[in-house]
Symmetry: C2
Subunit: 385 residues, 2 copies
């Protein structure tokens, strides 16, 4: 049984995740496979638990950013297809092959070097050629390169040409122009192949939800499975159910007099008698200092963060006295109707919903829930005495 | 041997840490004990390695924020005194006592409840009474409460009154007024005790470095041991040697034509032919999106981040072609004279140096160096196949 010794935790609603994946899956053509993006610790939700649940709900495979992330999932027993999205070193091709992990390829040179280091007795490395159609990040840009790679793989035993893909940079925008340019470029890439590989994929969440022409035979969906909005501009603007919430408890409460100060720099000064609570969460948990002034839900009521956010603690001004142990919700709700969306926090931080959840880091235990039942606690900080 | 499969890493200069601790230690009165603050994974540096090195360099003990953090250090074999700074649950008093971990107390009620749950055969729990003299975070505020706690402990066997402390909120500011008020209040607290405990401590880095009257018989130093500046306003404004640096390598490089776009939203557009490199680090590593436009050191030369920072990747505009594998430094230097301080990044993010290093999270392996020799790699993401 996992032990944890702090009263700050993230709650992960597995039912919501299941439902989100299922709804997205049901909205896709039957032959289109859904790969769930579980990179970055499943956008902060916990990669192993999310991977399992997404697969149960109909995802066909998983995508991660790093080979390390893929290996951890394999080590924990995930058997489904896993594609690494980031480039791996040629020297690590053998490790990937041995663990049946698919990797992207953008250069013939890489294949040659990987082939030299892979050694004997290794299953063929499954590769997905990544085409840069306008994202400008990684990928080959010319059809000639793609043809060379196809020919090279045909002549070797070390590799299996499993997929071809690209990535959209503006699928969430109202304007279609750039998106259509990328789509056309990708189709052109696919058209020069002698043999189309098993997986042809382009769409992220915004692609899969907002563009019916983006599917090919697979999609890679991240933000939408977490119930967060994939686009601010394009329908559907409604989203699934938010999977992530962040909670803490009051560990200290006091009445302060007018003129008394709170926190570093004595930057907040009370104007009248006020009830101030301290909660054990701070910027080292990813609850950034810019959230000063943001409100939280304490015992069902909104309460404002006052004073500078500390590394491990935050002070809030309560509407009235509340006892130690009162639950404080920083993201999500308490069943009272009031709800703090990830997007509310993103707006306050002048960033996107993705960043907010990725920031809540390993110091914060994850509580996995089904219905209202706690089924598992993951505390990466401490695994037990 | 630790394995890691990505070309992004933080380098921790143990020599610098040793020297910083030693210099601070040497600047203190002989009888003043130095507690090194290693909470929040040692401000992102890695708590176990930093704890060991700080103790070797003359630190007497350690302070952490959470009981979980203290337990991990004990589990790894750290025998030195450890004080948890954040409040722990009364129900966890027994665990703390069994592992000889000291904890803060701010309320008689807590002691009573803790005493009830501790059970038999447990060594006495070492407690440090925390006085709130103006930080407004946690701590008791009246001398009467302190006296009651002292009397209560005298009558029980479960607790040892090991320390009394407070925390300054403005020790880094030019103005002394608020600081002096806190100092006087703390002295008053200490003066009402019948027996002064073993440890009397108040100063953080800014206290220990900028105020000769803050020492008592122990200090708790964090930011300064990491070679980062403890104050923007008070001497000494110079600091030790920066322990932390962050590096990556070019994994992809391409020439783009005028008018081509880079990254999400196609938000960056090239005006002329440009060399664009991709490095495998992004906001899910704690390299926040607001760092768009920040420069990095690529192959010894400054290069600007262009386009939106992605979750796992960042694009930079090179002054000229550089090959795949070229080292890119995001924080720190490459031995060429040019150097990116943590403070440069903090300024760009409109925050403090503390937050920058705490943000670089567990996805980034830590490389521990002595001289130019790599002596240990810690990869929290993946512990080996
Ligand atoms: C190649 C690739 N495919 C699929 C996804 C899933 O995207 P979404 O979460 O929008 O469905 C991502 C995520 N990218 C992140 C957000 C990034 O690189 O910044 C990706 O990089
Ligand atoms: C009680 C206490 N003592 C000592 C320190 C060390 O401070 P410094 O790093 O400035 O030497 C801290 C750090 N505080 C952090 C910064 C915070 O709570 O935000 C602290 O909370």
């Amino acid at each position: 049984q996992t032990q944890y010794f702090r009263d700050t935790w993230a709650e992960i609603d597995l039912d919501a995740l299941y439902q989100n994946v299922k709804t997205i899956r049901d909205g896709l053509p039957r032959e289109t496979k859904l790969f769930a993006a579980v990179k970055a610790n499943a956008y902060g939700h916990g990669d192993f638990q999310i991977a399992k649940e997404a697969l149960k709900a109909g995802a066909h495979g998983l995508v991660v950013a790093l080979l390390d992330e893929a290996l951890v999932l394999r080590q924990k027993g995930i058997k489904a297809p896993i594609l690494v999205l980031g480039l791996i070193r040629p020297a690590d091709a053998g490790v990937a092959a041995r663990h049946h992990i698919s990797v992207p390829v953008v250069q013939l040179e890489w294949l040659k070097e990987a082939g030299r280091t892979m050694g004997a007795g290794v299953p063929p490395l499954k590769i997905h050629v990544k085409c840069d159609t306008g994202m400008g990040r990684i990928g080959l840009k010319h059809e000639e390169e793609l043809k060379e790679i196809e020919q090279f793989i045909k002549q070797t035993d070390e590799f299996e040409f499993e997929g071809i893909f690209t990535h959209f940079s503006t699928a969430d925008q109202a304007s279609e122009k750039y998106y259509q340019g990328q789509l056309a470029a990708f189709k052109k890439f696919v058209s020069v192949l002698e043999t189309v590989p098993k997986y042809v994929h382009a769409a992220n969440s915004a692609g899969a939800l907002c563009h019916n022409d983006s599917f090919f035979n697979a999609v890679r969906v991240g933000i939408a499975i977490y119930g967060l909005s994939a686009s601010q501009e394009r329908p559907p603007l409604n989203k699934g159910k938010q999977v992530f919430s962040l909670h803490s408890k009051i560990v200290h409460v006091k009445k302060i007099r007018p003129g008394e100060c709170i926190g570093y720099g004595a930057a907040y000064q009370a104007e009248k008698e006020e009830w101030i609570a301290t909660i054990p969460v701070g910027y080292a948990d990813g609850w950034l200092r810019k959230l000063e002034g943001q409100s939280v839900i304490a015992g069902g009521e909104r309460a404002e963060i006052v004073g500078r956010i500390c590394m491990d603690q935050t002070m809030v001004r309560l509407p009235h006295y509340m006892p130690i142990g009162t639950q404080v919700t920083l993201i999500g709700g308490q069943g009272t109707g009031d709800f703090i969306t990830v997007e509310e926090i993103a707006e306050k931080l002048d960033t996107i919903n993705y960043e907010v959840i990725c920031m809540i880091n390993f110091r914060v235990p994850r509580f996995y829930k089904r219905g209202s039942k706690l089924i598992e606690v993951e505390n990466p900080l401490f695994r037990g005495v």
